[in-house]
Structures are given as C-alpha cells and as structure tokens.
C-alpha cells in the first residue's frame, strides 16, 4: 500500500464527527481558491537562505551545487 492509501486509511480510522470534517473540507477549499497552488513543474525554484535546527544558515543554491534537492513544506510539529 502506498503512502496516499495509508494516510487515507488513517484519516478514516479517526472517525471524526461530520461537522469537524465539514469545517476542515471548507477550509481546504477556501485555501485552494486563494492562489496557493505552489510552483509548477519546469519552473525554477526561488533561492533562499534559512536557519536549520542547529542555527546554521542553509542556502538552497549551495545545496543544489552538490546535487538534486527534495524540499518538503510542512505545517509544524503539532
């Protein structure tokens, strides 16, 4: 089973009340309609420099000079 199927299974197993599911669904639709589609395939990713967990500055262009990069945007630890 792939990650998508496993996540769908987990989500279903939580048995959330329908009113909560409806609020989250409406929220996702609102966000989708607000110009948050992200980068397109074939587009150049904007460079950046951000601190990592040890306070060191990481620059995307420096890492790209060493090889491909997988970037994952996530919401947080909660």
């Amino acid at each position: 089973m792939g990650l998508k199927d496993r996540l769908a299974q987990f989500d279903a197993s939580r048995n959330r009340p329908p009113e909560i599911v409806a609020i989250l669904k409406r929220g996702n639709e609102t966000v989708k309609a607000s110009g948050t589609a992200g980068l397109q395939i074939g587009e150049r990713a904007p460079d950046f420099a951000l601190p990592n967990q040890r306070g060191e500055t990481v620059r995307l262009s420096d890492r790209l000079s060493m090889g491909p990069v997988v970037l994952s945007f996530y919401r947080g630890v909660w």
Binding site: L3, K4, I23, G27, K32, A45, S65, S72
Partner: protein, 122 residues
C-alpha cells in the same frame, strides 16, 4: 533512498526555531529542518495562507491548539503542505501541493523523479 540517489532532503515550516531539543538531539536529526519564521520563503513558493477563521476556531476550541506558541505572536498562518524535487539547476522536476494535509506525494514518485534526474546527469 533519497540520499543514496545523491539528493539532499530539507523540510521547511513556519515555526520559530525549536527550543525544546537538546543540541545532541538536533545533531541526531539527519536532515535540515528549516525555520521560515517570517514566511518569506513560503510566500515566494506561493504556498502561504492565513488559517481560515472557521478552522482557527476549530483548532482553538476543539483541538486546544495555540498556533502562536509554535509560530510566534499573531502568526495563524501556514504553508500548503508541498513536496518538490529539484534538479541541480533548481528546476522543479516533480512536485505536489495540497491544502489537505492528509494527502502527500508518494515517496515512490519522489524516487522515480530522482532516478530520472540521475539518468540525464541533472
């Protein structure tokens, strides 16, 4: 698998730098966990949004989540969860973004994209 294909993996969130981990724990994390505390990068990547009022109320009242504790004062804002595979030229070769945080890019698709990049020496 991602490393063995010669790629670097980094994760970006809007959270302030984590103060709860010890330095040893921080060194034990094998990838870069980056803090975009001004959401500048998240905006550049067109993933930024303010949490809709109805969802904010749900998080606060039903889930007891205070996002400001993690993101800083006034920052009820998030990135759309997204994954991008970049070749050495910084070009997006594969990727997905979906506001539904339970939908993520298949790891096998990430690996396929990295294999395709490796084949052309990208």
């Amino acid at each position: 698998m991602i490393r063995s294909l010669g790629a670097d993996l980094m994760a970006i969130s809007p959270e302030l730098p984590d103060n709860t981990l010890t330095m040893a724990e921080k060194h034990a994390i094998p990838i870069d966990v980056l803090s975009d505390a001004t959401s500048e990068v998240i905006k550049k990547y067109r993933l930024w949004y303010a949490v809709p009022a109805e969802v904010k109320a749900l998080y606060q009242e039903k889930f007891g989540l205070n996002m400001e504790k993690y993101n800083g004062e006034g920052r009820w804002e998030l990135p759309v969860p997204a994954t991008y595979v970049l070749d050495r030229g910084g070009i997006v070769r594969a990727g997905e973004a979906d506001p539904d945080y339970t939908v993520r890019m298949e790891p096998s698709d990430i690996v396929s994209a990295l294999r395709a990049i490796a084949e052309v020496g990208g």
